[in-house]
């Protein structure tokens, strides 16, 4: 059992575990909204906009996490200004802003002496370098997400399931969208630190996809995805500890492996269920 306890003796690993659990829970849970609203694009582009904030923070010598939060806040604020025009939806305005920020970030990287070495951290995460400030930020984001879902969870579900009805009931869809985008962006900030820019989308979508196959209604799906995300964080770090694989990559690979198992199991059980009642009728229909 030593391998189970061993990683926890290191302060660096304890912080990494805390970060991975918080990140996995938040990204997994919110990923359900991202998946069902068809916002995969949002997760991907948010990851790009954050690079800008990270580089600016590096230039100013401030904490990286605060730079990312700043960039996230700026994006959400600007997109809400753009989306005030009814001709643009919030995701369209995001689609304009995020590549712009990414371009700015890349330009700044090219102009900044000595940043190239840290670029890898931004792309693939640096979960072993998590600071107390990063952890505090992850905790604050987790709390904020929990409060948001407790206060507006059922309204966000309504706005996802049936937009005309939500509008008819007098809910302001623009504001609800903005709220959702804001918490997803904050979750992306946390995940950026843990798994990096490139792997972030996998953290948002992977656990949610698995959970969709395992559950029939939304809130159990969120709980399952959050649990799977946290589990992937822990399991990925154990793997990383024992083999020297990068933490972010290991976590994402566990997410992928979990999905492969769930999807495989689902295919087998639904295949069995489908075949058993009417084996002849179902044969050869390309299921």
């Amino acid at each position: 059992m030593e391998w189970l306890i061993d990683p926890w003796t290191s302060g660096i690993m304890r912080r990494a575990f805390a970060e991975a659990i918080l990140m996995g829970t938040v990204a997994g849970g919110l990923g359900c909204f991202v998946l069902l609203r068809g916002l995969a694009f949002l997760g991907e582009s948010v990851a790009h906009t954050l690079i800008f904030g990270v580089v600016v923070a590096f230039l100013l010598g401030g904490p990286v996490a605060l730079g990312a939060v700043g960039a996230a806040a700026l994006t959400v604020a600007l997109s809400s200004v753009l989306a005030a025009d009814r001709r643009f939806s919030v995701d369209v305005s995001m689609g304009v802003l995020l590549p712009t920020f990414f371009g700015l970030g890349v330009t700044l990287i090219a102009l900044t002496e000595g940043y190239q070495t840290r670029l890898e951290d931004t792309l693939f995460g640096a979960i072993l370098e998590v600071t107390d400030l990063d952890l505090a930020l992850a905790g604050a984001v987790a709390l904020l997400v929990a409060v948001t879902l407790a206060c507006a969870g059922k309204e966000l579900v309504l706005a996802t399931f049936d937009r005309p009805m939500a509008r008819a009931m007098g809910y302001r869809l623009g504001l609800l969208d903005l709220l959702l985008f804001a918490v997803v962006t904050l979750a992306a900030v946390v995940a950026l630190r843990a798994v990096g820019n490139v792997l972030l989308t996998a953290m948002l979508l992977g656990p949610a996809l698995s959970a969709r196959l395992l559950t029939r209604t939304f809130w159990p799906m969120v709980a399952t995805a959050a649990g799977l995300g946290a589990f992937a964080g822990i399991a990925g770090l154990y793997w990383s500890w024992s083999t020297n694989v990068g933490g972010g990559a290991a976590i994402v690979l566990v997410v992928a492996a979990l999905f492969a198992c769930v999807a495989g199991g689902h295919a087998v059980t639904s295949g069995v269920r489908r075949r058993s009642p009417a084996p002849v009728a179902e044969a050869g229909l390309g299921h």
């Binding site: 069902l36 407790a150 206060c151 507006a152 059922k154 309204e155 579900v157 309504l158 996802t160 399931f161 049936d162 937009r163 005309p164 009805m165 509008r167 008819a168 009931m169 007098g170 969709r212 559950t215 029939r216 209604t217 939304f218 799906m221």
Partner: protein, 252 residues
């Protein structure tokens, strides 16, 4: 009787496209109104104007709360939610932001599912229900809204006979209990059978009044133009073959 719905000089334009013009009517409480007209006549837009969901000119006044049944195609059916969960949405505005539905709301929602004949499907995922069953769940949700005015957008489109019977029975009951019901439909014959009054739209209000006054060859010709056929004194309306709802074939 006091008017539950008053519309005066309503005009709706989307950019340069004028969708509704000079629409005025008033409806007493407890009437069951059919909104008829060819595709693109502005039926759905009229409902959206009543809901306050589009920019309008003119006056729209209606009793609140408003219950609403959107077109089935507007709902994201693949969302993981069961029938009971959908019906419970009807009480969200009353609950407020952080409160979750209690036992009282749940029991009420189950009773409403029973009323639309789906007591045994409360825990069925919405995407495993048939089109007609889904439509009945949406109706149960509208009942949970306890509206003085009930707006239904094509509730009879593409559903099975049993669902249609249940829907019409429950909707009619609502009107008899004092709610003002407005229903858009492509189904002239059904509308003539169940509605007290009719609004015939084709950008402008072509005709309005009690069903027996409206259901005449002259009015239908003016509303549907060449789509109206008169055969041996009976009028048939040929629906637009390029039906934009994609599931309403075979009506009219």
């Amino acid at each position: 009787m006091s008017a539950a719905v008053v519309v005066d000089g309503l005009r709706v334009a989307f950019g340069a496209r004028l969708v509704l013009e000079d629409v005025s009517f008033s409806l007493p409480s407890g009437t069951f109104v059919g909104i008829l007209g060819p595709n693109g006549a502005g039926k759905t837009t009229l409902l959206r104007a009543l809901l306050g969901d589009v920019a309008i000119e003119g006056r729209v006044d209606l009793e609140r709360p408003i219950a609403y049944v959107p077109q089935l195609t507007e709902v994201q059916a693949a969302f993981p939610i069961d029938a009971l969960g959908v019906v419970l949405m009807g009480c969200y505005p009353r609950l407020g932001w952080w409160r979750r539905p209690s036992h009282r709301e749940r029991d009420h929602a189950r009773a409403l599912l029973e009323r639309v004949g789906l007591a045994d499907r409360a825990r069925s995922p919405f995407d495993e229900l048939s089109g007609g069953q889904r439509q009945r769940v949406l109706l149960a949700r509208a009942l949970a809204q306890e509206g003085s005015v009930v707006l239904l957008d094509e509730p009879l489109s593409g559903i099975d006979v049993r669902s249609r019977e249940v829907m019409l029975e429950v909707i009619g009951e609502q009107a008899r209990e004092g709610a003002t019901v407005l229903m858009t439909t492509h189904d002239l014959a059904e509308a003539a059978r169940v509605c007290d009054r009719m609004l015939v739209l084709n950008r402008v209000l072509v005709a309005q009044g009690a069903t027996e006054e409206i259901f005449t060859e002259d009015v239908l010709r003016r509303a549907y133009g060449a789509g109206a056929l008169v055969l041996e004194g009976r009028t048939a309306v040929l629906d637009d073959p390029h039906h934009h709802h994609g599931h309403g074939h075979g009506h009219g």
